[in-house]
């Protein structure tokens, strides 16, 4: 199997996992962090394998990773300050 096909299947499975968490109505800090963690993994998969940034200089991967950490970090902070 091509690596990109494996990545595609993983992305589909992770999407189903996120959907299942949502359908189960789960909430709270651990669930929020898990769902954001899944999103981080998926974005990294798309950036590295679909956009093919894994074969480029660290600079380009670093920009996407830095953006990802900053955005999901801010989202997590916004939720952590409010979840009781």
């Amino acid at each position: 199997m091509r690596p990109c096909t494996l990545i595609w299947l993983s992305l589909m499975l992770l999407t189903v996992a996120t959907y299942a968490i949502g359908e189960a109505g789960m909430g709270g800090t651990a669930v929020m962090l898990t769902v954001l963690g899944i999103a981080v993994i998926k974005v990294q998969m798309v950036a590295s394998y679909f956009m093919d940034l894994r074969h480029t200089r660290w600079l380009w991967r670093g920009i996407v990773l830095g953006w990802l950490v900053l955005v999901t970090g801010l989202i997590a902070i916004a939720y952590l300050t409010t979840i009781k």
């Binding site: 959907y19 359908e23 798309v46 956009m51 953006w67 955005v71 999901t72 989202i75 409010t82």
Partner: protein, 198 residues
């Protein structure tokens, strides 16, 4: 266009620039920045209206959102296959994969339009409440990016069909592919943020 740099740590090639025209990457980074600010603004706006956001989120179709995520990821995968095909010099195969990607983009738009129709017909607008202001503007903004991505892919497909790309020269295919992956990447964050996390 492509400059190779020796990477002493591995035998793999390391490219100085990402796939496609470098200009599209500056555009992509600008888009990421704009959406990133939008995503963070949503999260902090919710912090001030938790009950309202959680209650409104219950009225979204999580199933539509999830199906659309699967549709965009699959569309992105087709584009990966299109790039792989043109790297082997297969123009027609490349055009067909891109055609499939555009088709899945259209499915995304159809499902999203159906969702919008449901919301608009029940009288929901940008001014209904803060949640819907964010939900509608974020998803409409993303919707327009899907349309732009499909137009770019259509141009690439037509050129590929005419044999305008080759195994040696396919920067245009990679440029369109990179933009399309960004559209997918943004939805991958948008879906859990707006449809799932509460």
């Amino acid at each position: 266009m492509i400059i190779l740099i020796n990477n002493p740590k591995s035998a793999h090639q390391v490219y100085a620039t990402p796939p496609g025209d470098l200009a599209i990457w500056f555009f992509i980074f600008a888009e990421l920045l704009a959406f990133g600010i939008f995503f963070a603004a949503y999260a902090f706006a919710r912090a001030h209206n938790i009950a309202l956001f959680d209650a409104s989120q219950q009225h979204l179709s999580r199933t539509s959102g999830a199906i659309n995520t699967l549709v965009l990821i699959t569309s992105s995968y087709f584009v990966v296959r299109a790039v792989a095909a043109i790297k082997q010099g297969y123009s027609n195969q490349c055009a067909r994969w891109i055609g499939a990607a555009i088709g899945f983009g259209a499915i995304f738009l159809a499902i999203k339009s159906f969702e919008f129709y449901g919301k608009f017909s029940s009288g929901i607008t940008l001014s209904t409440n803060t949640f819907y202001m964010f939900y509608l503007s974020l998803t409409i903004f993303h919707f327009m990016h899907v349309i732009l991505g499909m137009l770019i892919l259509a141009a690439v497909m037509l050129k590929a069909r005419r044999g305008g790309y080759s195994a040696e020269n396919h920067t245009g295919v990679e440029t369109g592919a990179s933009y399309w992956h960004m559209v997918d990447l943004l939805w991958i964050i948008l879906f859990p943020l707006i449809y799932v996390i509460h």
